[in-house]
């Protein structure tokens, strides 16, 4: 039996020293998906920012919306001997196994966009999704005194989508009780959004406002549906439906300029890439950080589970600031 | 008849199988209205009737595949077991069904022992024992197939022999054979009968279904006749001469004309001329058929006669040689081109190549001729229905109408649909491969009569058959042996001559 016992083990056994890193070495970058304009923009920024920060980043790996694929991707990167990982988890919890593997190998990880529930990461780089939902709610609440608003939600199983939905719901309930929230679960699918919005408008032609949780997928179908129903009125015209979007892609900016939609929350794809690289480099060099304000207009907070999160600011873009050259949506093609 | 005495004198009075007042309906079709059957232990009982009379339906009820809507089945005086208790049924009765009941993807050996594979400790199947036992079983039947072959690759007749061998190997006291001989040649039939007689002597009881009435007289003692879904009569075969039997089946007297083909008039031009045809299955065949001539192709299993016939219909591609049809070159390997050139064919196996079972009679019958039934390829439903109704009447198909799916048809009627399709295209050359397999006596008459009328309108007919009755109508019969033509018999041959040359006993 001694043989059996010695043969047994756990995937947690092989803790390597890990202290040998001197801030150099290859860095793996794992993406959650590529079929959204936002992640596509992030993907474009990664090599640029890596170069700017002096990080030797490998080609990005796409987990294609599959959490278990993401674990496999992390394992593969680790097997290749990367010294640091920048991961955008698909799920806050279903990333733990990957983080554990990295920790065992002594490889630091920076999480982008989603804060892991458990597991060790050097830093979380994200904008606050709860804040997105609140910003949208505040804006719509100010424009519309009372009436129906609809939120076009994402995949109900996605953390970011859930955060936005709940924040929006809660904020309306608390601050603008005269608004009635209708919901469209659209699974991040544009045709689902179009047909459900279409249907909803049949029953509620008096709709006053729309919150789209992802401009990248919902902008076109929303505008198209409104257009085909004759409900697309420019900002300022009577009967205009107030629309707040979320992402900050160039097409949203165009729509804002044309007055088709009111505002969008600009998710900082560029900053995600930039600070992802910045923090991984620091972590590989053994640097640590403390909660408090940063030098780039944001704040590092300590999450309940002890992780540090650099909460990047996500500006609300309206007609007033849509031409701001600092917005990443104005810097890409 | 069995010479064994049962333990108690009583039991000889209790019939082995007794079915009473059986009724079975499929939707609007009444397949069986008043089915009755009483089979005494040890006797061989024949069940006859026209196509669609309800024989196979009765078989499926007697073997526990289906429950009757009405009526009772008793074995040895006991009520039949519930349908779900397959094991109990298996101890009572074994059966060769009319439709193939093999699993095509499994090997022959496994099909022989399906669900009763020899198993050792812990229920582990011993493939070696399975193989040897299968080989033994096939050997006793003289079936020359590899026990390891995929059953789907077998020829129809071999598959049929495998099914027969399987049914007879169960050791059941009661065995049902539903048209076992329709796909077999005379040698195989003889082998089957020898075996049946031996089993009869050891006390096995048979229920035997066939449209070859001479076989009924050869192996059976009693006969039950069904007509129009009803029981008509049960009698010792000796009391029911052939003519009376046919009358009971058909409900009218049928004149079986003893035809002697008149032969083609000498001046008729050659319609089909083939030269030096060669393929893997046959070699260097020269063949001519005149307008209005009926030529038979005979040969034992594996002689290549079927491939030869198929070559003309585009179903088999010769590697060498050429053929002329009505002055033009006959293209090979392309059914559509052959059809256009004027060849129609009844293929060898109606299940495999003959019918699309999910489609209706009308669709199946008109499948090859739609081009001619309307303009631009469109066919009006009425036109198709009319055409199909006409075919149904002409060939006397027992069906509700052209809209009925062919899967509902009885075996013989399904065969007639295939025949109908071949005739539908008004061909110049009609290639018939086992055209009367499973067709009842009266219908066979009308099918064969169609061959005669072909003569009048100048159609050439090539008949491949294992049945002497079919071949008798031919102006001449060519015999193939191992892929070569070894003999030619002009009309008027004697059975033994033909059989001898088929067997290759005596060439010349």
């Amino acid at each position: 039996t001694g043989l059996v016992l010695s043969a047994c083990g756990s995937t947690k056994d092989t803790v390597s020293s890990g202290g040998d890193s001197d801030g150099t070495g290859k860095v793996g970058v794992v993406l959650p998906l590529l079929t959204s304009p936002f992640w596509q923009a992030y993907n474009d920024y990664v090599p640029k920012m890596a170069k700017a920060e002096g990080v030797d980043a490998l080609k990005t790996v796409n987990s294609n919306s599959d959490p278990s694929q993401q674990i496999t991707d992390i394992n593969n990167q680790l097997n290749q001997g990367v010294k640091g990982l920048v991961v955008a988890p698909l799920d806050s919890a279903a990333i733990e196994a990957g983080l554990d593997q990295a920790e065992r190998k002594g490889v630091p990880v920076v999480a982008v966009d989603v804060a892991p529930e458990k597991g060790k990461v050097a830093m979380v780089v994200r904008a606050n999704n709860v804040a997105y939902g609140e910003q949208a709610c505040e804006y719509l609440g100010k424009q519309i005194p009372s009436g129906k608003v609809v939120q076009i939600m994402g995949d109900l199983a996605s953390v970011n989508g859930r955060d936005r939905s709940e924040a929006f719901r809660a904020c309306v309930k608390e601050k603008f009780p005269k608004l009635k929230v209708l919901e469209i679960p659209a699974k991040w699918e544009s045709d689902t959004a179009a047909s459900k919005l279409d249907t909803l408008l049949n029953a509620n032609p008096d709709l006053k406002g729309i919150y789209m949780q992802a401009g990248g997928v919902y902008l076109a179908p929303t505008l198209q549906t409104l257009k085909s129903k004759g409900l697309l009125k420019k900002l300022g015209q009577p009967g205009h439906i107030a629309i707040v979007s979320n992402d900050g892609i160039p097409q949203e900016f165009d729509a804002i300029r044309k007055g088709e939609i009111d505002a969008t929350v600009s998710q900082p794809a560029d900053l995600y890439a930039k600070y992802g690289m910045y923090y991984i480099k620091a972590a590989m060099a053994g640097k640590t950080f403390k909660p408090g304000p940063t030098d780039h207009d944001s704040e590092i907070v300590k999450l309940p589970n002890g992780l540090l999160e650099d909460q990047l600011s996500a500006p609300l873009v309206t007609k007033d600031n849509v031409d701001d050259p600092d917005l990443w949506g104005n810097t890409v093609g | 008849m069995s010479s064994q005495q049962r333990e108690t004198p009583d039991t000889s009075l209790v019939p082995l199988v007794e079915a009473h007042g059986i009724a079975k309906r499929y939707g609007p079709t009444t397949a069986l209205q008043d089915g009755r059957l009483t089979v005494l232990a040890g006797e061989s009982h024949a069940l006859v009737g026209r196509n669609g009379a309800g024989k196979s339906t009765l078989v499926s009820i007697l073997t526990g595949l289906q429950a009757p809507d009405e009526g009772t089945v008793r074995f040895d005086g006991q009520p039949a077991p519930p349908l779900t208790d397959r094991d109990a049924w298996r101890t009572k009765v074994a059966c060769v069904y009319q439709k193939p009941t093999v699993v095509p993807e499994l090997t022959v050996a496994e099909n022989l022992f399906i669900n009763r594979q020899p198993a050792g400790r812990g229920g582990v199947i011993s493939w070696r024992r399975l193989r040897t036992e299968a080989a033994e079983l096939l050997d006793t039947w003289d079936v020359h197939v590899d026990p390891e072959a995929r059953t789907a690759d077998l020829k129809v007749e071999d598959r049929q022999m495998v099914e027969i061998a399987r049914a007879l190997s169960f050791g059941a006291r009661f065995i049902v054979l539903d048209e076992p001989t329709a796909q077999l040649d005379s040698r195989e039939i003889e082998r089957l009968f020898t075996r049946m007689r031996a089993l009869q002597d050891s006390g096995v009881t048979f229920l035997f279904i066939s449209h070859h009435l001479q076989e009924v007289y050869e192996v059976c003692q009693k006969v039950t006749v069904l007509r129009d879904a009803r029981w008509i009569t049960t009698a010792p075969v000796a009391d029911l001469p052939r003519q009376a039997l046919i009358e009971a089946m058909a409900g009218e007297s049928v004149a079986e004309q003893a035809v002697t083909p008149r032969g083609v008039e000498p001046g008729q031009p050659v319609l089909l001329a083939a030269e030096g045809l060669t393929s893997a299955a046959y070699e260097n065949i020269d063949l001519t058929v005149r307008r209005g001539e009926v030529v038979g192709l005979a040969g034992s299993s594996g002689s290549g006669k079927i491939e030869l016939a198929e070559s003309f219909a585009g179903l088999h591609t010769p590697t060498g040689g050429s053929a002329q049809l009505d002055g033009g070159r006959l293209p090979f390997g392309d059914v559509q081109a052959a059809l256009t050139a004027g060849v129609a064919c009844v293929p060898r196996d109606r299940h495999e190549q003959g019918l699309v079972s999910g489609m209706t009679i009308g669709d199946n019958a008109t499948m090859s001729v739609l081009r001619r039934l309307g303009r631009y390829g469109f066919v009006s439903g009425d036109r198709k229905r009319g055409f199909a109704t006409e075919l149904i009447e002409r060939l006397d198909i027992h069906a509700e109408g052209p809209e009925q799916p062919v899967s509902d048809l009885s075996g013989g009627n399904a065969q007639k649909v295939v025949m109908a399709r071949a005739l539908a295209s008004d061909p110049k050359l009609l290639v018939l491969i086992n055209p009367t397999a499973g067709v009842d006596v009266k219908s066979k008459e009308s099918l064969l009569a169609r061959m005669d009328s072909a003569r009048e309108d100048g159609t050439a007919v090539l008949v491949v058959s294992d049945e002497l009755d079919d071949l008798r109508r031919c102006d001449r019969v060519l015999v193939l042996f191992h892929g070569r033509v070894v003999a030619e018999h002009p009309a008027g041959w004697h059975d033994h001559e033909l059989i001898a040359s088929i067997e290759g006993v005596e060439h010349g």
């Binding site: 045709d191 047909s195 279409d198 | -």
Partner: protein, 341 residues
Amino acid sequence: MADTKAPPLAPLRAPDPRSAKTVLLRRARELALVPALLLLMVLGTVVNDSFLTERNLISILGASAALAMVVLAESLVLITGKFDLSLESVVGIAPAIGALLVLPVAQSGWGTEFPAALALLAILVVGAAVGAFNGLLVVKLKLNAFIVTLAMLIVLRGLLVGSTKGKTLFGMPDSFYSLATTTFLHVPLSVWVAGACFAVAGMVLKYHRVGRALYAIGGNADAARAAGIRVERVMLGVFVVAGALAAVGGIMQTGYVGAISANQGNNMIFTVFAAAVIGGISLDGGKGTMFGALTGVLLLGVVQNLLTLAQVPSFWIQAIYGGIILVALMIARVTTGRAQD
């Protein structure tokens, strides 16, 4: 007991084949969903006032048009006894290539800036070409249709993501959207087109030689070959036509959502199969009608619409959706009284 002669019998007559009941029984397969559909309509009217309005019914149709085209395409392939999973990717890649051909480089296009009409033609050609490629692999190389088209699905999805770099394509000429945005008698053109395609396909399948050939091939390819049908050629043709029809579906989808995302068509094939199969198209081939397939599409459209109108708590929408499909299947089973295959 021998020699008992039965009394003379009046021959049993088969029932009149044209009687209403026999005809209905025979059409059971295609009419199976009608009761369930009616029930849902009644339910819809009760649940929400706006359900039975012209506007809403048109919405249902407009939302289903693209799906209907792909279901039509898939049904043709299924009737022939094959599979084509890659149709969902055609819905994405075909219009995307068309868009890339018209768009300037600045809008992520290829900069070829084709005229719109040519680009629309190119969309159809792409669809047909994908179909032809699948067809060749399946028919000539004799690869397994399910897995070949699954691989193609992945390849095409990948090509779409790769060639657009994941970007959503916007700003194509109006003609890209006009199928969904132009209306005739208040009904979007896409609905008319889909309706016409179904009608034509239905007629061809029922009354044309080629249509009958599809059923024959799907039912028993060997028998079809022996009956003189050029099985390979017809099958190849079906793949090509299906590809082109799916491409039309892709244009409709583009018009409906107003852009082409790199996700367009993803996971659509599940819904396509669901609609076709509940509509009575058999996966074994040889069975089913266009009318049945259409009822399948409508059923799914109505259920989706109903669920949205009813504002069912969003967490439970999916479960209820699936549940309704299950119940509809059972209703179909009970009302037709026949096993489903």
